[in-house]
Amino acid sequence: MTAYLIRRILATIPLALGVVLVVTISFDLIPGDPAALMLGEFATPEAVAELRTSLGLDASLPVRYVNYVIDITQGDLGLSLRERRPVTDILVETFPYTFQLAFAAITLVLLVGLPLGLLAASRPGSWIDNVIRVTSLAGLSMPVFWTGIVFMVIFSVNLRWLPVSGTGTWRHLILPAVTLALPSIAVIARMTRSTVLEVLQEDFVRTARAKGVANRSLLYKHTLRNALIPVVTVLGLQLGQMLGGAVLTETVFAWPGVGRLTVFAIFNRDFVLMQGLVLVLAMLYVFVNLLVDLSYGLIDPRVRYQ
């Protein structure tokens, strides 16, 4: 087990190097000079060139990349080009908001999506199954910026139950979390339904049924255990995306999280900030995946880690 964990953690190194390399290369490919953007409308070409040199943008791609990697090993994520403060400070400020939102949303997904899927699977073909299938698709197809605004109009303006946007109290978290969770609830409900139905068709379940195991305990014990593995996998993917890409929800609800920071970094060509961001996000992705893999062992004791 320990050896497994160590191997998994070591495996993140090439991934981290890879994502940083992609960022480094991509900023050479996309037009837009961070120095020119910083200096604004009247900057002379000389001033821009001077700033480029002082920011270290002049160095060739391999040099910049290697320098950055050396800095990372010393725990230094560099200085944001635009904000001129340590990237680490910015990330430490921003990630807590993203964690709050993502975990609130993923909790909702578990609490609502999973039961809905099981309910649908327990009576396949019934009206309740159809209702769940159709409404979950509707949830999946509405752009979050639209559902977000509609929720605002209903719950904040008309009913006055919740604040429109921003941070502060737990009440500020409700609308963005629900909005972010909605498509994932739909995905998880669908996944749960179809995997449960699939497992129910498996030979061992049929055997158990033929042997006369009581229906209830059968569903819970055998089916759920086998059906949960793909569901957890997808849940992990959803969580990964929520951590990295809740741009729209954050924008609509003025939530100061990582998604907006990412857009800021790319629109301002602040690639030092971008490198730090994707690095941390890649680590999180690996961590979430590791959790998912470890959860397989909890769900199904037959799973072994080598």
Binding site: G125, A138, L140, S141, S194, L237, G245, I266, M274, Y285
Partner: protein, 289 residues
């Protein structure tokens, strides 16, 4: 005990069709998709007005006799834009998912079937894509290549590849372990035969479900790009673009964004019902009843 591959396939095909017709929701889905495809193909004949023609004096008109579904913020006919929008939106969603499905399942099944170092390489590469914040990837692509329908498709396709690769790989691995494949192998069946007869149909069922789900994702992604102003470009109408630009009128003229929203919901519904129906028909072991 050798099985004739040709007869198996033919009888399977008939079974599939029979099973599909019995599935009412699946038929409904097929009908919805058919209507959309017809709208997309025959848009110039069906649309009552020129979708790009503006009448600023009629801006944000609520549905009436002249503008059956109302007019947007430029006074353009929403019905006509909806019909033309089916073109752009379906093109973007279907082509991006098709590209993602093709490349992804190719890479994934290769990884799953061959295994070893190739598996490691492909899946690490996919991890790299997945670990990258997805909108960031799309923005980088669109920033580098410029906004437009083709680049929107590309940006979304790239993002769907790893998901399909993962699904395909795990499906292949799972099927490889299944009793009937093991049995076929032990009975001396050739690998190619196994691929064709046993793996593909099973594998297709899973992929169809995923593809129908990812059509919804593709539409969501396009709307996200439109939200950032980087999606399908004017004057081309796309549903996502219509919602993105109409969302500021949520209190004064909610129909501008609501109507394309309903269109997207219907399209997603249609594709998914069709996908479910096909899945159930392709793989009778799974699903309903």
């Amino acid at each position: 005990m050798t099985v004739d591959a040709t007869t198996t396939t033919r009888s399977t095909r008939n079974d599939v069709w029979r099973r599909f017709r019995r599935n009412h929701l699946g038929v409904v889905g097929a009908l919805i998709v058919m209507v959309l495809v017809i709208a997309a193909i025959f848009a110039p004949l069906l649309a009552p007005k020129d979708p790009a023609e503006q009448d600023l004096r009629a801006r944000r008109t609520a549905p009436n006799a002249e503008y059956v579904l109302g007019a947007d913020e430029f006074g353009r006919d929403i019905l006509s834009r909806l019909i033309y929008g089916a073109r752009a939106s379906l093109t973007v969603a279907v082509s991006s998912v098709a590209i993602g499905l093709l490349l992804g399942s190719l890479l994934g099944s290769l990884a799953g079937y061959v295994g070893g170092w190739l598996d490691g390489l492909i899946m690490r590469l996919m991890d790299l894509f997945l670990a990258f914040p997805y909108l960031l990837l799309a923005i980088i692509i669109v920033s580098a290549l410029g906004a437009g329908t083709f680049n929107t498709i590309l940006a979304i396709a790239v993002w769907t590849i790893p998901a399909f690769a993962r699904v395909a790989r795990s499906a292949v691995l799972q099927i490889k372990e299944r009793d009937f494949v093991t049995a076929a192998l032990s009975l001396g069946a050739k690998e190619a035969r196994i691929m064709g007869v046993h793996l593909l149909p099973n594998f297709a069922a899973t992929l169809v479900v995923y593809a129908s789900l990812y059509l919804a994702y593709a539409i969501l992604m396009e709307s996200a790009l439109s939200f950032l102003g980087l999606g399908v470009q004017p004057p081309t109408a796309s549903w996502a673009g219509m919602i993105a630009s109409g969302r500021n009128y949520v209190t004064s003229a909610p129909h501008i964004a609501t109507i394309p929203g309903i269109a997207i919901a219907l399209a997603v519904l249609g594709f998914n019902l069709l996908g479910d129906g096909l899945r159930d028909a392709l793989d009778p072991r799974s699903g309903k009843r």
